[in-house]
């Protein structure tokens, strides 16, 4: 509440806010848990006045007031303490007395969360629930025409290739002349996309790595995980688990000295190296780790001072063109492991993707191309970049694949698609659609955070405070008080659950296509959509 008579342009009433906390006085036991857990201190105990008029029947006696006071759990209307809708208050409330409710109308907060001239920055996602991937259906269901498979009964070997595949004549020549054959990894087609050590908490990061190791070593699923740009703990670099890891190098070059120092001690080569040029969630902008999260540990791993924001430049400095950037970096990184490790760039989906792809097609060392669409998530970005910049992945990956078909290299350079797969929970369907549009594999991040660690973020601007290190689930926090809410073992277990169920669902989609060992990459005749324009654009069936 404002003191009487003081109001400024950014004075907001509770209903001006996106999230409002509904508190039930009758159920509340004043246990203090909600105010203790609120990540942004939106909640506080407040003293309220009460007043009752004492009226006797027939007004026989002189009317009077009874004044008093009581205590309430109150949600602040201050901008910097605005409720983010995470719902932790409801989680800890023993009596279901409190919960955030999203405003039914467009909030007024958005006009004011640029105090001091600093535009809103946040983590999360695009805050758009729609997407073409969810509308794509698998319309080719073989029953009596093809030897359809039974997803539950038949054995599947769901694998994809990461690396440059030589055309047969070159492969034969290379083999007979004992020439260089590019490294190719046979991996599971769902890759955990780059989320850095720093963006994620240590417990979350370890949980994911542990889960990946388990999937590989206990369940025989060759799942790979990308480190993101934040370096890699030295122990992991020196362990056999490194082979499950795709190391990322990006324009900030954080922690690369540790990787270089570890080179002579590596028991295994990493699965691959991803050179990040762009991120789908915030194309044209570099990585950003805000100062809140740069504590001693993160600073040490990254080789930077503590308590400073770490923006990565949007481009690799000293790399001034595609030719230079791609040729120089791919070659240098390949050299570090004696050309035994596939090296590929990752770009944000853009209308200029094909220029990059064509360049890669001419570069024999390029192991693939990862394209990240606008629906990707991020730990920190400007709101405007996240909400308004970027390209949908579906048409971009389709264009890229058809371009490869045109130049006859669709079996040689794998395309990996990311950015929005599973954003509404339909991970297997979205991944299968991307594969049939032409992707050799799919990268996923947000889905994993939600499913493996209980991230509460939604496409409705819920929570989205990954950037300031206050993640109420401890997923993106560097504060031990928060990240210890996560048990790495349980994250690993959930990751295993996610992969096993994904695998079953993917089989349900692949089985009717009669595919059990080779992925239906680019098999777009199995896809349909009820939108004519989209069907035309993607060159898939229009079904109504």
């Amino acid at each position: 509440m404002e003191p009487v008579g003081h109001m400024h342009p950014s004075t907001l009433s509770p209903t001006d806010h996106l999230w409002q906390v509904v508190w039930d006085r009758g159920r509340c036991t004043l246990c203090g848990r909600c105010t203790a857990v609120c990540p942004v201190r939106a909640l506080e105990l407040r003293v309220c006045r009460s007043r009752a008029l004492n009226l006797s029947p027939g007004l026989v006696e002189k009317p009077s007031n009874t004044y008093g006071a009581y205590h309430a759990v109150h949600c602040s209307t201050e901008i910097e303490r605005a409720c983010v809708g995470c719902g932790m208050c409801g989680l800890v409330c023993p009596n279901d007395a409190i919960a955030p409710v999203r405003s039914a109308e467009i909030d007024r907060l958005r006009f004011h969360n640029n105090q001091g001239g600093e535009p809103r920055r946040r983590g999360g996602r695009r805050n758009d629930t729609t997407g073409i991937l969810d509308r794509i259906k698998f319309v080719r269901i073989s029953m009596l025409t093809d030897p359809a498979l039974d997803a539950g009964r038949h054995e599947f070997e769901i694998r994809t290739l990461l690396g440059r595949v030589l055309p047969p004549e070159q492969a034969v020549a290379a083999a007979t002349e004992q020439g260089w054959i590019p490294p190719v990894r046979e991996i599971y087609p769902l890759i955990i996309g780059g989320m850095s050590f720093g963006a994620l908490s240590p417990t979350m990061w370890e949980g994911l790595q542990m889960g990946v190791a388990y999937l590989n070593e206990e369940l025989g699923m060759p799942v790979r995980i990308c480190t993101g740009e934040g370096g890699c703990p030295p122990r992991l670099l020196r362990s056999r688990f490194l082979k499950y890891v795709i190391l990322q190098i990006a324009s900030g070059y954080f922690g690369w000295d540790e990787i270089i120092h570890a080179l002579p001690h590596m028991k295994e080569d990493p699965c691959a190296v991803e050179i990040k040029y762009g991120q789908g969630a915030k194309p044209g902008d570099g990585g950003l780790l805000m100062w809140y999260k740069v504590n001693k540990l993160i600073a040490a791993i990254r080789g930077v001072p503590t308590g400073v924001s770490l923006p990565s430049p949007p481009t690799h400095q000293t790399k001034y063109s595609i030719e230079e950037s791609v040729a120089k970096m791919i070659q240098s990184i390949s050299m570090a492991w004696g050309f035994r490790v596939p090296v590929y760039p990752k770009i944000s989906a853009t209308t200029t993707s094909l220029a990059v792809l064509n360049n890669l097609a001419r570069n024999p060392y390029a192991a693939g191309l990862a394209i990240d669409g606008e629906d990707g998530g991020t730990g920190a970005a400007y709101n405007v970049s996240m909400n308004h910049m970027g390209h949908p992945i579906a048409s971009n990956v389709r264009d890229a694949y058809l371009n490869l078909v045109k130049i006859g290299k669709q079996n040689e350079i794998p395309i990996f698609a990311g950015g929005g797969a599973g954003k509404n929970g339909n991970l297997a369907a979205n991944a299968a659609a991307l594969i049939m549009l032409g992707a050799s594999g799919v990268q996923t991040g947000k889905y994993i955070m939600q499913a493996a660690a209980g991230c509460v973020g939604t496409e409705s601007d819920r929570c989205n405070i990954c950037n300031i290190g206050l993640c109420p689930k401890g997923i993106t926090s560097q504060d031990a008080r928060l990240y210890r809410r996560i048990d790495p073992e349980q994250v690993a277990q959930r990751l295993v659950d996610v992969y096993l169920s994904f695998d079953s669902e993917l089989k349900k989609i692949l089985a009717p296509l009669g595919r059990s060992t080779s992925l239906p990459i680019g098999m777009a005749d199995a896809l349909g959509i009820d939108d004519y324009q989209a069907a035309q654009r993607l060159q898939i069936r229009h079904v109504v």
Partner: protein
């Protein structure tokens, strides 16, 4: 034809194959006619021997020679016995519901598919998908499949009941005797097998020990089976060694606990940590504990901790008072019944609490009172001020040899004198006026305050210090004399030189201060119409006095919005004064004041009140002057280190500001005289948002009863020991402790506190603050 005769039905007729439909009709009609034994010379006809409903009444025997088609004995009825003398095609016994089917050779795919009752005996191998989808109905005996050789791939998929026996004898299969990956989806029944089998769906079935009962059943059944297929010769071989046999059983529901893999906890210790080292991924980089904690935590794991910040901030009233009078502390004393102490406390800060706090001060304390933020009336401090009229005079500190001269006996000068007296110094006050008291005594209209109150307070001061009237006008020589004969000299000569107008007829006007002074002495006169040039507070005082002296038409003009405020303004308005602006006087004539704007104001008396400046003619050259005032630093020290200057000679201001300056100078001189470091830091003011006014009733108007006023004071920043924090704390983490040195504190038990901030949210006085806990690094 007798019923015991065997009917021969041929599969070819006139060199042509009889259709399956026709053959079926012929078999069914023969049975309907009572025939019980049929020999079929098959030529690829399907479904032979199935659906023989007549067998329910009396057993039927079907012998098939030649080339049987698919689905021999499908939907077989109990009482049917089929002997296929040769190889069988696909789906023998499909949906068999009771027939006994004997194949004297190999059978291809799908043997016994979906069979629910009956028996199938195969004298050789079977193809893939044998014994799949079988059922078992409690109303009937379970189905049985006996195979002398081996089975093809995908054996027993989705098997839900019955028994399969695969003897593995002289099989053409070289690898697994049950084929590749049998038992997928198997939910019931059991499979005896003999021979090599490398895999089966362990998610659905498991190998179990063959019990004695099982073994007896197997041996007995084996005899029947071998008899049926005519291979009694191998009975001994097959039943010689129990160990050669294995038994697969569908998992019971309770055994289906999901995939059997290493638990993650074990994986973590035995695989993960073993490879990476103790502490896992970053065990080498940090010693910070990472084991899981609950969402609601205590101790050092709390994100926020409450801090009891009693008297860490000044209450807004005290912070707003230039003199720094501890207003809130005085109300607290009154609340505690110590009225005398509350009254006396003021005297430690000001010699004129009754005159100034009680009447003349605009009471900045009240303007800053937290209660005004919610339109609650500020607590009336004038009540408190007036209560000090007869307060006990403090006992001064032991005398210290330090002579201080104070030139000027206005509120500033007497404030220095009073303070230094309390601190034990020798003080001498000089003034050329015969009446000490400065502007309060000589200028401010008596309508504003009761004269006797001031006189009493003035005498209270004068009893403590030496007062000397200066005979002559102060000049540089006399000043030097005073300065040289004292350790410190304080200039408090005020500002009583009127600013003058340089317009024609200015000499006709009276100077406001002079007018007020004379008015108080009863020597001033005012005409009926008075124009006052300058509508500040001095102008207002002049208006009030003019009214007292009989003026009835009083106009104050100013060139800008009048700066007057407070009681002065209110008194002038009460006197009926008009305020006109912007008006710039251009000349003062006999009849009145001319203005640039063209308005002519008739006047019998014109008073000029456009400000006063100090008369600094006495000042020696080594004391710097700035903009007509004496230049001083923050402690009111002039460019001569032994000379201080306070009050209006330094800058124009409120009486309370003059008194405050005196307090500062006295502290500075005292510290220097004693050779001590003096700090002049004041605590910061409490953020009034921390104070909870909702506890106070908006209806209560305390009036002028000190006790009622004290009760409504919110005690900002100072604990009132109400104990609400102890009560509200949901964790019972707060306790009140008496301190050994007296007093008390409220303390938090970190092992109980969850950092909810309820103490801070509930504390009426804003003492508790919820702070971020120290980072864990």
């Amino acid at each position: 034809m007798s019923n015991t005769d065997t009917l021969i039905i041929k599969g070819t007729e006139d060199g042509r194959r009889v259709e399956s439909r026709v053959l079926e009709e012929r078999i069914q009609s023969a049975l309907a006619e009572g025939c019980r034994s049929i020999e079929v010379h098959a030529f690829g006809q399907h479904g032979i021997g199935g659906r023989l409903t007549a067998a329910e009444a009396a057993p039927v025997q079907i012998d098939i020679y030649g080339y049987a088609g698919q689905r021999v004995g499908s939907m077989g009825f109990a009482g049917t016995r089929i002997n296929l003398h040769g190889q069988a095609s696909d789906d023998v016994g499909w949906l068999n519901a009771g027939a006994t089917i004997v194949v004297h050779g190999d059978a291809t795919n799908g043997v016994a598919n979906a069979m629910a009752q009956g028996s199938i005996f195969i004298a050789g191998d079977i193809g893939s998908r044998g014994m799949t989808m079988t059922k078992s109905n409690p109303r009937f005996c379970p189905p049985e499949l006996w195979v002398l050789g081996g089975a093809g791939d995908s054996f027993a998929e989705f098997m839900a009941g019955g028994v399969a026996v695969v003897c593995g004898f002289e099989s053409q299969y070289r690898g697994n005797i049950l084929g590749h990956r049998p038992c997928v989806g198997m939910v019931g029944g059991k499979i005896f097998f003999r021979g090599r089998q490398e895999n089966f769906s362990s998610a659905d079935a498991r190998l179990v020990k063959i019990s004695d009962e099982d073994w007896q059943w197997l041996c007995a059944g084996m005899q029947k089976f071998l008899e049926a297929i005519g291979r009694r010769d191998v009975l001994k071989t097959l039943t010689a060694e129990r160990a050669a046999w294995k038994l697969l059983k569908a998992l019971e529901p309770f055994e289906r606990t999901g995939r059997k893999h290493m638990p993650l906890a074990r994986f973590r210790t035995e695989v993960w940590d073993r490879e990476l080292g103790e502490g896992g991924l970053i065990g080498d980089l940090t010693a910070i504990e990472r084991s899981p904690v609950p969402v609601i935590t205590t101790g050092e794991l709390r994100r926020f901790v409450p801090v009891w910040e009693n008297h860490k901030y000044l209450p807004p009233c005290q912070a707003g008072c230039p003199t720094g009078i501890p207003v809130q502390q005085r109300w607290e004393l009154i609340r505690n019944g110590e009225l005398d102490r509350a009254a006396a406390l003021a005297l430690e800060h000001t010699p004129f609490p009754a005159t100034v706090c009680g009447y003349l001060c605009p009471n900045l304390c009240m303007q800053n009172c937290t209660r005004t933020r919610e339109r609650l009336p500020a607590i009336d401090v004038t009540v408190l001020g007036r209560s000090s009229r007869n307060a006990a005079v403090p006992t001064p500190a032991p005398a210290i040899r330090n002579r201080v001269a104070i030139i000027g006996s206005g509120p500033a000068g007497l404030s220095v004198a009073w303070q230094l007296w309390m601190k034990g110094h020798e003080v001498e006050v000089f003034d050329h006026s015969e009446r000490p008291g400065g502007k309060i005594a000589s200028v401010i209209p008596e309508s504003r305050f009761p004269r006797e109150v001031f006189e009493e307070e003035l005498q209270r001061v004068l009893r403590t210090v030496a007062f000397a009237q200066l005979k002559d006008t102060l000049n540089p020589e006399r000043f030097a004399e005073i300065r040289d004969s004292h350790a410190f000299t304080v200039i408090a000569t005020g500002a009583d030189k009127a600013r003058t107008l340089s317009i024609p007829g200015a000499e006709r006007a009276l100077d406001a201060l002079d007018f007020l002074r004379k008015a108080k002495l009863g020597r001033a006169k005012a005409g009926a119409r008075v124009v006052i040039i300058g509508a500040g507070n001095v102008g207002c005082d002049a208006a009030t006095e003019a009214h007292r002296l009989g003026a009835r038409d009083i106009t104050l003009i100013d060139i800008r919005r009048p700066a007057s405020f407070g009681k002065e303004r209110a008194e002038a308005e009460k006197a009926g004064a008009r305020f006109l602006w912007p008006l710039t006087p251009t000349a003062i004539g006999k009849k009145g004041v001319e203005t640039q704007e063209g308005t002519f104001l008739e006047a019998d008396t014109v008073i000029v009140a456009i400000g006063d400046v100090p008369d600094l003619a006495f000042l020696p050259g080594d004391i710097a002057v700035r903009n007509g005032y004496i230049g001083v630093n923050e402690q009111f020290q002039t460019t001569d280190a032994r000379v201080y200057a306070v009050g209006d000679s330094v800058r124009p201001g409120l009486i309370t500001e003059a008194i405050a300056a005196g307090k500062t100078v006295a502290a500075a001189i005292d510290a220097r005289a004693r050779g001590l470091e003096q700090t002049f830091d004041r605590l910061p003011a409490l953020d009034p948002d921390r104070v909870k006014l909702a506890y106070y009733s908006p209806e209560l108007r305390p009036g002028d009863d000190p006790a009622a006023c004290a009760a409504t004071c919110a005690s900002c920043g100072g604990c009132r020991d109400c104990g609400l924090c102890v009560t509200i704390c949901p964790q019972q983490a707060i306790s009140r402790n008496d301190l050994p040195a007296g007093g008390y504190e409220y303390a938090v038990d970190p092992d109980r506190c969850i950092g909810c901030g309820f103490c801070a949210g509930a504390c009426p006085c804003g003492i508790w603050a919820l702070k971020e806990n120290d980072p864990i690094e």
